[in-house]
């Protein structure tokens, strides 16, 4: 009876102690450095990848027309406002003419005076001509002296000269008037092309210097994107390549486009290459100039080579390589890396064959003597 009771107690004690020990062994082997490292693996496959370039740019207008006066002056009126659509030849505003109108009127009077002078010269010439003809006939009939006849001929020549001087004076007055009118017209600010008013830099009453722009007009049809690509791996970038454009304001929508040109001068400070990209078709709602745009260039597919995810490529002791799983043991295989694409795939030029298993994700850094446990997905990553 007593023996039984001791046995039952022993059993109860063991029931506590044994699970505790089991738990300790489990804990010691499943955590800390003795635990196997969970890894996920993938099989190397031969496939072709299309490398992709990614650049950031801003929307810019290809042509910006800065309209301003050619003389220093004051702005008299300005009808164009930012956002207005204007037509080629449309008057957008005018500069203050100051005394120009008065000078035009004064020139008109000078012109009329020259006309009058011409009429006077013409009257004199016509009279001199009549007189010369009469004395010629009288001289022929020996009814007058040769001296008087010569005097009349000289008077005619003087009248001819006076008339031609008066005609030229009239022409000068006309040209002077034309010049003043042209100057007057030049004070008007006229749109050289049809487009959109993008900026209005001065308001009526402002004094501006010669050449300073009062109104800026852009041609919305000429919008393009000034893109900057990191200099890494852009040797393949060339004009004509198809691109995809995402505007910051219209996230998620993709617009088609094309590389117009790659600038011959790169940015030495930011280590970027510049390119111009045009839209295939402009968005219905025009993007504002200066808006941020993401540009993705998909290049032609490369020949098939073994491909691994870029997460599997590691540098160990200064050598680039991947961890292979052979007989459930990791082995480091140095590789030579080729092209990559934006989805994180890397082509392996040498060092790997299709069908080999490589480690993609791992919980910790691996070593050749690490124990590994191959899992579908690492525990920490919730599905």
């Amino acid at each position: 009876m007593k023996f039984l009771s001791v046995n039952r107690r022993m059993f109860a004690l063991l029931a506590v102690i044994v699970p505790l020990l089991a738990l300790l062994i489990y804990v010691a082997l499943r955590s800390g450095p003795l635990a196997p490292i969970s890894v996920t693996v993938t099989t190397v496959t031969n496939r072709s990848i299309a490398p992709v370039l990614f650049g950031i740019g801003t929307v810019a207008a290809r042509y910006t027309y800065k309209i301003g006066p050619t003389y220093a002056g004051r702005v008299k009126r300005l009808d164009a406002h930012v956002g207005d659509r204007v037509k080629a030849g449309q008057v957008l505003g005018e500069m203050e003419p100051v005394d120009l109108d008065d000078r035009v009127r004064s020139q008109e009077s000078a012109f009329k005076r020259a006309e009058a002078t011409l009429r006077e010269a013409e009257a004199r010439q016509s009279f001199a001509q009549t007189q010369a003809r009469r004395y010629e006939q009288l001289f022929a009939a020996r009814a007058t002296s040769e001296e008087i006849f010569t005097t009349k001929r000289q008077e005619l020549q003087i009248a001819d000269a006076s008339q031609s001087a008066a005609r030229e004076e009239l022409a000068r007055a006309r040209s002077d008037q034309g010049a003043l009118v042209a100057q007057r017209a030049n004070l008007r600010l006229i749109a050289p092309v049809s487009g959109l008013v993008a900026a209005r830099n001065a308001d009526p009453g402002t004094t501006v210097v010669a050449g300073q722009s009062v109104v800026e007009v852009i041609d919305p049809a000429s919008l393009w994107i000034n893109v900057r690509f990191d200099q890494l791996r852009v040797s393949v970038l060339s004009a004509g390549l198809a691109v995809q454009i995402v505007l910051r304001s219209q996230d998620g929508r993709r617009f088609g486009g094309r590389v117009l040109r790659v600038e011959p001068i790169a940015d030495a400070v930011t280590e970027e290459i510049l390119a111009k990209v045009t839209f295939d078709a402009l968005p219905k709602r025009l993007p504002p100039v200066g808006e941020l745009a993401e540009v993705t260039v998909t290049l032609s597919a490369l020949p098939a080579l073994p491909v691994v995810p870029n997460a599997s490529v590691q540098r160990v002791d200064g050598r680039l390589g991947v961890w292979l799983i052979e007989d459930d043991k990791p082995r480091f295989a140095p590789v030579k890396v080729g092209a990559t694409d934006l989805d994180g795939l890397v082509q392996i030029i040498s060092g790997l064959k299709a069908g080999q298993s490589v480690v993609v994700y791992s919980q910790r850094a691996l070593g050749t003597r690490s124990r590994v446990k191959i899992v579908e997905q690492l525990d920490e990553v919730s599905p």
């Binding site: 107690r9 004690l13 738990l23 210097v209 990191d230 890494l232 997460a311 680039l320 920490e380 990553v381």
Partner: protein, 400 residues
């Protein structure tokens, strides 16, 4: 031969086990505290490991980039690449800040790296999901501790980034998880003021008659543009060619480029000796006190357990049991209690360690040391109890 200790334990096994469990929880706390200390040191070390660098080139006269601010021009790396023995060099920026995602924000160390491909210095090493950064803008690889998920959009200053990869154990020396973003974006994030501040600065510049001159219409734009650039980085990470000694390469750069260069050993000294020194000492002090308190409690428990059995011991003595047998019984019980306590403590510490917000590193070496310590303390404590037991007068068994 009947084990006296075993018989006695069986006699009151519930009391014995529960005392052991209570003791175990206390030991668990001590082990965890050691883990917290180890975790702090380990955080500092993984920061260095993860950078993948052998040399850190920083601003002259600073302890940067982790312990002090350091700023270099971002084209310095080109001249460093030309130095003998330098294999690879990459710019890097570090900035601890709040990273927003939807409604919440997370304190994180934002690391700007050159998206130059796998294995470059500064790149996050082992991922646990997703992929490395491939675009030169607006992608992020984050540490799992941030709680961000693949494909989520996070906000750093005014730009949005897509999470494309997850890592683990990528933390700053303060234990903040890391968020890796492309260098250009990071430079911008470090420099970018909020939009209000920028607008105000523009207005201030525009109101300054020295910059806003009607005769030179483009001057204002030029001035504003020059205010809006940030060609700075915090450090250049350098990997040394095989066959070169890092210290030699560092010395050449120090001498000819007049920049401060730290090797791995020096960097570890800075991080552990300076950056986390006070915090580590604080934890260390706490650990020492906790260990002493635990030892005292273990001793008292064993002593009181023995005193509770004083009448039985008197009976044993009365029936002529040898002192050695009685001493053995007490010692065995004490050691048993210690073993149960250690097992419970180790299990408890392992289970609650991952719940801590910062990393807790339970090293097997520490555990073994703890085990030895517990047994030693139990043995010493039992000496006190044995003395008390041996002094008992057998007459007490009858009297009292």
């Amino acid at each position: 031969m009947i084990s006296l200790a075993g018989r006695d334990i069986l006699h009151a096994w519930g009391k014995f086990v529960f005392t052991g469990v209570g003791l175990g929880l206390l030991i668990g706390v001590t082990l965890t505290m050691a883990g917290v200390y180890r975790g702090m040191v380990d955080d500092a070390k993984v920061l260095l490991d993860n950078s993948g660098a052998e040399l850190w080139v920083v601003q002259q006269g600073t302890l940067g980039p982790y312990a002090e601010p350091s700023s270099l021009y971002d084209d310095v790396y080109r001249t460093i690449l030309g130095m003998p023995g330098v294999d690879r060099a990459a710019n890097v920026t570090y900035l601890t800040m709040q990273v927003r995602q939807g409604e919440r924000d997370v304190r994180a160390m934002v690391v700007g790296i050159v998206p130059g491909g796998p294995g470059e210095p500064g790149q996050p090493g082992y991922l646990i999901a997703g992929r490395q950064i491939t675009r030169s803008h607006y992608e992020a690889v984050v540490d799992i501790v941030t709680g961000f998920k693949l494909g989520e959009r996070i906000q750093i200053r005014r730009n949005h980034y897509t999470v494309v990869g997850l890592t683990r154990r990528m933390v700053s020396s303060g234990g903040d998880p890391m968020v890796f973003i492309p260098l250009r974006d990071a430079q911008e994030a470090q420099f970018l003021k909020d939009n209000d501040a920028i607008a105000q600065q523009r207005r201030r510049t525009a109101e300054n008659p020295a910059f806003n001159r009607p005769v030179i219409p483009d001057l204002l734009d030029a001035v504003i543009a020059s205010q809006s650039i940030n060609p700075y980085i915090n450090a250049v990470l350098v990997q040394v060619k095989p066959g070169f000694i890092p210290e030699d390469v560092a010395e050449t750069i120090r001498r000819w480029k007049r920049l401060q260069v730290y090797t791995r050993v020096q960097m570890e000294d800075i991080l552990i000796g300076k950056l986390i020194a006070t915090a580590a000492k604080q934890i260390g002090m706490f650990l020492v006190i906790l260990a002493i308190v635990s030892a005292a409690i273990v001793a008292f428990i064993i002593y009181t357990l023995t005193l509770g059995k004083i009448r039985e011991i008197a009976v044993l003595k009365l029936i002529g049991t040898r002192n050695r047998t009685i001493a053995g019984m007490i010692l065995q019980q004490a050691l048993g209690l210690g073993i149960i306590g250690f097992v419970v403590g180790k299990i408890a510490a392992t289970f609650w360690a991952p719940i801590f917000p910062k990393y807790v590193l339970l090293e097997p070496g520490d555990a073994l040391l703890g085990f030895a310590g517990v047994l030693l303390i139990c043995a010493l404590a039992s000496v006190l109890a044995i003395r008390a037991a041996l002094k008992v007068d057998p007459a007490e068994a009858i009297g009292g």
